[in-house]
C-alpha cells in the first residue's frame, strides 16, 4: 500500500509531536528528581550548618585547690550555669597534668552550655530570665560568641551536645572499611577471575552465578544476622568491633565486587587473550599481565561503589552491636566502635534540640565523603578507560 505525500506529511506532524512529548516527559522526570535532591540537601544544609559553630564564653578561670575539689568554683557564680559541664569536669585532670596552672587566674574562652549555644543561635532555650540577662550583657561586651566548632571534629559521642562530635565514628568507619576492603576485595576479585577465566560453563557454575546475583539483592539486615551467627557466636570475635562489622559488610559487598569485576573482565576483548596465548603465555601470565591490568579501572570503580554502599549501611551493624553509645575512638579493630551512619541514627533519637543540628551536620559530613568516593570512582574510570 502506498501513501500519498500529503498522508506522510500529516503523519510526520504526529510523530514529531510524540517525540516532543517524550522529551518533555523525561525532562520533567529529571526536574522532579533534581528538585527532591535540592530540597533534601538544602534542608540538611539549613539545619546542619549551625552545628559547625559553637558558643564560647570569655571568662576568668581560677585554678585553685578549691576548684580542683569542686570544679564549679573555678568560674564566677553568675556564669556557672552557662559554662559547659563537660569543660568543668575535666578541669581537675587539666590541673593534674599541668602543675603550673595552680594558683593562677586566667581569662580564657571556654565552651558554653548547649542552652547558651541555642540562645545565641536565636533558638528557644531553657535559660531563665536572670541567665539571659547575664548572657545579653556578655554578648554586648563581646565575651560570648559563636566560634568554629572544632569539638565536632575531634570528639566522640557525648550526652552533652556541646561536646558531641564525629571523630570516634569517623575512626570506626575507617577501620571497618579497611577490614571490609581487605576481605571483600581479594576474595571478590579472585572469585570473579576464577568464574570468568577458568571455570567451565556448566550447570554448577551457572547455579553459583545465579546465587551471587541473588545475594546482591538480599536485604542487608540478613547479613547482620549471618555476621552475628558466624563471626560472634561461632568464631567468638568481639561484639561491636570493626573486625566483625567490617567482615559483615564485606559479605554484603562481595557480590557487588564479583559482579562488577566479572563485567570488567568480560569487557576485555578476547583478541587480547588469544594474542597472549599465541606468543606462548600461560593462563596465569595472561590473567596477570594482560587481563587484570586492562580491567583494573572497572574493578576499582566497582569496589569503590561497593564500599560507598557499605559505608552508608546501618541495619546489619545494629545486629552486631555497632549501633551503641561509644564515645572513645577505637585504635584497633577489636575494640568497640561505631560508624558515621550509626552515629547519625543515635543522635536522631536524642531529645535535646542541639542534637537536631548535629544530626544534620553528621549527614552533611557523610554525604561529602560519599560524594568524594563516588567522584573518585568516576575519575578513575575516565582516566584509565580504554575503548576497543
Amino acid at each position: 500500500m502506498s501513501h500519498s505525500f500529503d498522508d506522510i506529511s500529516a503523519q510526520l506532524k504526529g510523530r514529531h509531536r510524540r517525540t516532543k512529548r517524550l522529551k518533555f516527559m523525561s525532562m520533567g522526570a529529571l526536574a522532579l528528581a533534581a528538585t527532591f535532591l535540592v530540597v533534601f540537601i538544602g534542608d540538611m544544609v539549613m539545619r546542619g550548618y549551625p552545628a559547625f559553630q559553637q558558643a564560647e564564653l570569655h571568662v576568668p578561670v581560677t585554678y585553685s585547690e578549691q576548684s580542683q575539689e569542686i570544679p564549679l568554683a573555678a568560674v564566677e557564680e553568675d556564669v556557672r550555669d552557662l559554662v559547659s559541664r563537660g569543660w568543668l569536669r575535666q578541669l581537675p585532670r587539666d590541673m593534674a597534668a599541668d602543675a603550673s596552672l595552680m594558683g593562677q587566674t586566667i581569662d580564657r574562652w571556654v565552651i558554653a552550655d548547649d542552652q547558651v549555644d541555642q540562645y545565641l543561635k536565636g533558638h528557644k532555650s531553657h535559660l531563665k530570665p536572670k541567665q539571659t540577662a547575664v548572657l545579653d550583657r556578655m554578648i554586648e561586651n563581646g565575651t560570648a560568641e559563636l566560634k568554629f566548632n572544632i569539638n565536632f571534629f575531634t570528639t566522640g559521642d557525648s550526652k552533652l551536645p556541646e561536646y558531641a562530635g564525629i571523630w570516634s565514628a569517623a575512626m570506626g568507619t575507617i577501620l571497618t572499611l579497611l577490614v571490609t576492603l581487605a576481605f571483600a576485595f581479594p576474595v571478590g576479585v579472585l572469585t570473579a577471575v576464577y568464574l570468568e577465566e577458568f571455570a567451565p560453563d556448566n550447570r554448577f557454575t551457572q547455579a553459583i552465578e545465579i546465587n551471587i546475583n541473588n545475594l546482591a539483592a538480599v536485604p542487608s539486615i540478613l547479613f547482620g544476622l549471618l555476621g552475628l551467627a558466624i563471626f560472634i557466636n561461632f568464631f567468638g570475635m568481639p561484639r561491636s568491633s570493626p573486625l566483625v562489622g567490617g567482615l559483615t559488610l564485606g559479605l554484603m559487598t562481595l557480590p557487588v565486587i564479583i559482579i562488577t569485576t566479572r563485567s570488567a573482565l568480560r569487557s576485555v576483548p578476547d583478541t587480547i587473550r588469544q594474542a597472549a596465548f599465541g606468543v606462548g603465555c600461560s593462563r596465569w601470565q595472561v590473567v596477570r599481565d594482560h587481563v587484570l591490568p586492562l580491567s583494573l579501572p572497572g574493578i576499582l570503580t566497582g569496589s569503590i561503589i561497593g564500599l560507598a554502599q557499605a559505608m552508608g549501611e546501618t541495619a546489619p551493624l545494629i545486629i552486631v552491636g555497632m549501633v551503641a553509645f561509644i564515645p572513645d575512638a577505637p585504635t584497633a579493630i577489636t575494640q568497640a566502635a561505631t560508624v558515621l551512619p550509626a552515629q547519625i541514627f543515635t543522635w536522631a533519637g536524642e531529645p535535646e534540640q542541639a542534637y537536631v543540628e548535629r544530626t544534620a551536620a553528621g549527614i552533611l559530613v557523610l554525604l561529602s565523603v560519599l560524594i568524594l568516593l563516588n567522584a573518585a570512582a568516576v575519575m578513575l574510570r575516565k582516566k584509565f578507560e580504554r575503548r576497543w
Binding site: G86, R89, P92, L175, P238, A324, Q335, E350
Partner: protein
C-alpha cells in the same frame, strides 16, 4: 595490583594481632532504650573523670537486654543490663540455667509516660478509660465487645471535643508501649463492663492508632504538624519539648515530676539496671560505675539525671538502695515474685 592486595591483607593481619592481645576492661551495658540516656550519661561521666575507658552501651530494649545478659558468664557477655520494668521470673530462671547466678538489682528512679498534644489547644483532661476506648481494638457497646466504632473523641464522651481520634505511639517492640498497655489499658479494662473483668491490651489497627517507630522525636514532629493528634512518649521528651507539646492530665493529674515521683500520676513506671556480680573482678569499672550511678550527684534530688528527665526516688529509698547495690545484695527469685 599485587602490592594493593598484599597491603590490604597486611593491614588486616597487623590490626587483628594488635587487638587480640588486649583483654576487655571496658564495661559493656545493654538493655532498655528508656534507661539508655541515663545510663550513657553516667558512663560518659565515668569515662571523663576516671582512668576507666568509657563503658559501651547498646540500646537493645529491655527484653533484648535480658536475653544477652542471661546468655552466660564471661568476656563475651554484657556486665550490666538496663530495664524499664522488673526482671521477669522466666528471665531470672534462664539466667540461673546459664550460670548467671549472682545478680544485683538497682532501681534508679521513675519515668512517666505522657499522652500529649500540640500546645496550640492547651492541656486536655482525660481518664484512662477514655484513652482506652480511643485506642482499643474492641470496645464494649451495650455490654458486647465490638470492633471499635469511635472515630471522634466526642463520640466517647460528649464533654470531649469534636476531633478525629489520631494517636501516634510506639510500636509493639517498645517498652513504652508495654507500659502503656499495662498501666492504661489493662488497669482500666479490668474494671470496665464488657471485658469480663480481664485486662485487655489489643490496640486498634484501623488507622486511628499509628505506630510511629521507636523515635520519639518523630512523634513530636507529627504532633506539631497535625494539631488534632495525640502522641504517647516518655516524660523526658515532654519536658524537653515543652514549647511544642503539652501533656494531657490523666485522671485529673498533670504529668509533672512530683506527681510521677509520688505515684499520683497513674502512668508511671520504675527504671532498673541489673548487675552481673560474677564479672566484678574481671571488669573493675563495674564497681566504679555502680558507685557513680547510685550517688546523690546522679540520681538525687539535685542530680544531673533529673535534668535529663529522670524522676528521683524518695530520699530514704535512695539510701537503702545505694547500700544494697554497694553490698551487691544478691537478687533471689522470691524478690521478683513479690
Amino acid at each position: 595490583m599485587k602490592a594493593f592486595l598484599k597491603s590490604g591483607l597486611a593491614v588486616a593481619v597487623i590490626a587483628a594481632s594488635v587487638g587480640a592481645a588486649e583483654a576487655r576492661e571496658q564495661l559493656r551495658i545493654v538493655g532498655s532504650s528508656t534507661v539508655y540516656p541515663f545510663s550513657s550519661y553516667v558512663a560518659e561521666e565515668l569515662g571523663a573523670t576516671s582512668d576507666f575507658p568509657t563503658p559501651v552501651i547498646e540500646s537493645t530494649g529491655s527484653g533484648g537486654g535480658m536475653k544477652l545478659f542471661c546468655e552466660g558468664v564471661g568476656d563475651s557477655t554484657p556486665d550490666i543490663t538496663n530495664a524499664s520494668r522488673r526482671m521477669k521470673t522466666s528471665e531470672f530462671e534462664r539466667c540461673e540455667e546459664n550460670g548467671v547466678t549472682d545478680i544485683t538489682e538497682a532501681m534508679i528512679g521513675f519515668d512517666g509516660i505522657a499522652f500529649a498534644q500540640s500546645v496550640r489547644d492547651g492541656s486536655m483532661d482525660l481518664t484512662r478509660e477514655q484513652i482506652t476506648l480511643a485506642v482499643a481494638a474492641q470496645v464494649p457497646v451495650d455490654g458486647k465487645l465490638v470492633d471499635n466504632p469511635y472515630t471522634k473523641w466526642s463520640e466517647i464522651d460528649s464533654s470531649l471535643p469534636d476531633r478525629k481520634i489520631t494517636v501516634y505511639g510506639p510500636p509493639s517492640t517498645s517498652g513504652t508501649r508495654d507500659a502503656f498497655e499495662e498501666l492504661v489499658m489493662e488497669v482500666s479494662t479490668e474494671e470496665m463492663e464488657g471485658y469480663g473483668g480481664e485486662g485487655y491490651t489489643n490496640i486498634r489497627q484501623d488507622g486511628h492508632y499509628i505506630a510511629a517507630g521507636e523515635n520519639d522525636n518523630l512523634i513530636i514532629q507529627k504532633l506539631v504538624e497535625n494539631t488534632e493528634a495525640f502522641g504517647i512518649f516518655g516524660y523526658s521528651f515532654l519536658e524537653e519539648n515543652a514549647d511544642k507539646v503539652v501533656g494531657a492530665s490523666i485522671d485529673g493529674v498533670q504529668p509533672e515530676a512530683d506527681a510521677i515521683s509520688s505515684g499520683e500520676y497513674p502512668v508511671s513506671r520504675s527504671l532498673f539496671y541489673y548487675v552481673k556480680n560474677q564479672h566484678k573482678d574481671d571488669v573493675p569499672a563495674q564497681q566504679a560505675y555502680n558507685d557513680l550511678f547510685m550517688s546523690e550527684k546522679m540520681i538525687g534530688e539535685l542530680g544531673y539525671l533529673k535534668g535529663i528527665g529522670l524522676i528521683p526516688l524518695p530520699k530514704e529509698e535512695r539510701a537503702t538502695l545505694r547500700e544494697q547495690v554497694a553490698e551487691r545484695t544478691k537478687l533471689t527469685l522470691a524478690d521478683l515474685q513479690k
